[in-house]
Structures are given as C-alpha cells and as structure tokens.
Amino acid sequence: MGTGKTSLVLRFVKGQFFHHQEATIGAAFFTQILSVSEATVKFDIWDTAGQERYHSLAPMYYRGAAAAIVVYDISTMDTFARAKKWVQELQKQGEEDAVMTLNFQFILRNPKLVMALVGNKSDLDSKREVQVEEGEEFAQENGMLFMETSAKTAENVNELFYEIAKKLATASPPNPSGVTLNHEETQERRGKLFCCIG
C-alpha cells in the first residue's frame, strides 16, 4: 500500500519514476538482467499488490521463488510492523513447503530463501518514523540483507539488486531456481531467477 514497491522495481528495470504510480492489482511482472562478477543473473520479478486482503494471493507469487524483498516505508511505522509479519510468514512458508511437498530437490536446491529487508523512501528523512538501526537490527536477527533505498532519487536501488544477485549467484547452483523478491506485506515480488555462468 504505497511503500513504493512498484516504483522500486520500475526504477531498477526502466530507470523511471512516477509520482503517482498506478496501484498494482494482483501483481505485475518485470524482468531484468544483471551481471555480477560471479554470474549473469536474470531476475523475473513479481511485484505484488499492497492492500492487506491481497495477502491471500501471495503464495501464488512466492511459491518456488529464490529471493524475496520485503519493503516498508521509513516514514510510516505501520508498514515496518507489517514487514516484520511478512518476514515471519515467508520463513515459515519456506519450511512448510519443503515439508509438505516432501520435495527434497527443493530443499537441496533452495535451502533458504534469500531475503532482503528494504526501507524505501529514504528521501523522506525529515518524516522518518523508522530508524535505520531498527531495520538493521531486525534484518540481522533474521539473516536478511538490509538497505534503505529511494526509488525517487534512485539511491541504493541498483545496489540492492546487485547485492541480491551476488548472494544468489554464490548461494545457489547455476541451474534455474526461484527467486522471490518479497516486499513487506504489500509487496512481495517473487521472481524466478535464472543464473547462467557467463
């Protein structure tokens, strides 16, 4: 719900930013290719709708994903609280999927979802409600990447995806595996990730 998930993805994929980005319904799909020293990573990104009731659709998007970005808005404490819930759900989901489907390949291939916690709208520092340390601490406790970004100014946006790509390239074998980019309650985007050693 307006934490800037779509804006973040659009900044990364197209280098664009719109003040009034259309509200996402269901989810939107984007792709982008990034080269890191270890590999070339193709992101298939599912950018999901923000409103709470869309939560019930989320499993469809994060199923089989390899990375997730959970996004909150640093100027709204409420979004941070919801981001925390998302992180817990995703962690739980990961375990249960593996157990429920008894899919050992899944366990081997994707032992752990790469997760990133992102505080977006860092340009709104004057309206900040969530301190950097709070985000950092929660991310660290949960073994997540952490970054504050601004889709508006582009600050840290490419860096975020670069870090995720690096982690994916080293963490998973070069065969295709899912990547879920999960944003806060609002946005979870999942994408499949295709790694090809270049």
Partner: protein, 397 residues
Amino acid sequence: MFGPQSKMDIAFEWQAQFHILRPSIHARRANIIVKFQDLYGFTVEGNVDDVNVLNEVREKVRQQGRVWWALEASKGANWYLQPQISISQGIGLKSSLKLSGFVNAITLKKLIRKGIPPVLRPKVWFSLSGAAKKKSTVPESYYNDLLKAVEGMDTPATRQIDHDLPRTFPGHPWLDTPEGHAALRRVLVGYSFRDSDVGYCQGLNYVAALLLLVMKTEEDAFWMLAVLLENVLVNDCYTTNLSGCHVEQRVFKDLLAKKCPRIAAHLEALEFDVSLVATEWFLCLFSKSLPSETTLRVWDVLFYEGAKVLFHVALAIFKMKEHELLLTHQVGDIINILQRTTHHLFDPDELLTVAFDKIGFMTTNTISKQRKKQETEVMKELDLRLRRLNSIRTDEK
C-alpha cells in the same frame, strides 16, 4: 456531483469522440508510434495500424448507433425494457412472455454483443443491469443521505481510498483532476459504508472510475457499482480474503483445460499458473488491460448476460494467441504476449467474436456447479493459511 453542463460532459461528448491525431504520410511511412486520446479520454499509444483499426471501430460504432435508433423508431423508445429480461434470467423464457418479448430478447442479446452505442450506454446499462430496480427500492434521497452520513469519517477504507485517488488512471484529463478525484472518492467511500464486508478493495477504484466516465452522473455510477458487486459478480470477490476471486480463478483454470487443452497443458508444463495474469483481469474487469472501448464492450455483455462473460473473454484472449503461446519457453514470454495482446485489442469485435463463437456455449448452470465444487476447496485452503498465520502470531508471544 457534476451536472449536465460539467466539464466532463463536454470532454466526453459522444459526437466529439476520437481525437485521433491523423498520422501524416511521413508518419505512415516511418510507421512510428503515435499517441492519441481515445473515446473516453485515455491516452493510447499505438502504431498506424492501431489508428486505422480505431477509425474502423468508430465507423462500426456509428453503424450500430443507426441500428439502435431504427429499432427505437420501430419498436418504441424503451423497447428493450422487458421486465422478464434481466441479467439473472438471461433470456428468461417465462410462459407468460409474449412472442414479441421473446423476439425482442433474442434481438437484444445479439445487439448487445455487437455493442451498445456509447451515447445510449448509461440508459441501457442502468435498466438492464438491474441498477434502476435496485435504486427504486430505496428512498430517492438514499445516495445523498449516505454521503452526508459518511462525511468526515476516517476509516481504513477511506484512508486507502484517499491514497489511491491520484493513482487511479493517473494523467486522465478528467479523472485525474480535483473534480474527478472528489467524485470517485464519494462513490467509493459511499459504497464502503453501504457494504462493510467489502469496504474498499483495491481494483474497485478502476472499476468505479470507468463507471463514472460512462454513466456521467455520480449517483448512477454508484448504483452500477452496487449492482455489479451485489448481483452481477459472484459473492465475495472483493471481501477480506478475496475468496470469491479465488473461486473464479480455479473455475477459470478448469475451463481453460476444457476449452483450450493444448494451451493449458503447455502452460502447466512451464509451471505457469494462469491466475498470475487473470487475477487482475477479473478484479478490474479488464479495465487495466484492455483499451477503454473494448473494456466497455465487454461490460455491455457482462451487465446483460452475467459474470460468465468474464470467462468467455479471458478464454478468448488465450485462444487468440494459441499458436504463439505454444511456442513459449519462459514465463516472461507468456506474460509479454498476453500483455501486448490485451493492450492492442482495439477492435472489440475481434475479441468478442472469439469469446462467443469460438469458445462455445457455457451454461450458467454448469459454471455454478463448478463454483460450488471449488468453494469448498478454497475455504479449506484459506482456513489452513489463516491458521498458519495465527500460529506465527502465537509464536511471537
């Protein structure tokens, strides 16, 4: 509220439609992309072929207009307002129905599939959808009373609505103005109080916005929204866990497997869940995907024949691209094909011909049975999920 002389009426006067920048010969040669405003004021990007298609569509709309006028002249102004013809009954063949009524019903069904002329749309939709009847059951002042009652209210729904107003078709010459935002706000906030189970669900903003553009008066748009959510669509499409939407998606998957088995098999092999694209189609009733006139042509039929029309149209989009879809190897390619197709479907007849002639007959009865079947499954799944989420909360404590 906007009166008959408002800016909107002037901007969207039917006769003044299609402000297409006629491409010059140079543009034609270079086959460049041109930007133009469509009938309802949306900026559209397309190539010269698209512009030509739109010109043909405009001509067809004129012809349809003449057919409707001729019928009014021969059968009387409100000939289509047969009490027996309602959306829930389709061509309700009651024994009491006179032959002339039956003939009218058949004529009307065919006519509507060919499109209601934009100038007649508000009147025809309002009557045939059941909105007029719904409105007639409450006091005249209902809508204004509702607006007065909700004034100054602050709820999660109003906050989300306020957040979404500038994000609903941004850049539209009327919707994206203070006047447009205010009208859309009143319709959505009003409805959120009429039905607190629905409240406000994202997606309804697009639907209500388009209803405003068509109906021209805010109150009629409100009643169209009410009849849509309460009578036309299946229940609970937009309530807290979108269960109705989940059901429709599952029914759609079954129908695709039945009607387009090759596509369904191919997509399944690629682990592509059709709901990934179809969810938005169903929740926004195609308003975010199809060009405006094509969307409204779908709605013409939707308001007359009911929610199964959405399945027809969604199946048609896949069917039209069967060959291309069967050649895909990646999820991204599937999505690109479907998006490109929907965005360029400027000719409504192309879509609707496939939707009704090629997809074949589906009875409301069969679909109802499938919905029943899926409902149980969906409820089970949502319940399981809820329990899992609750267990997270318990873990926290």
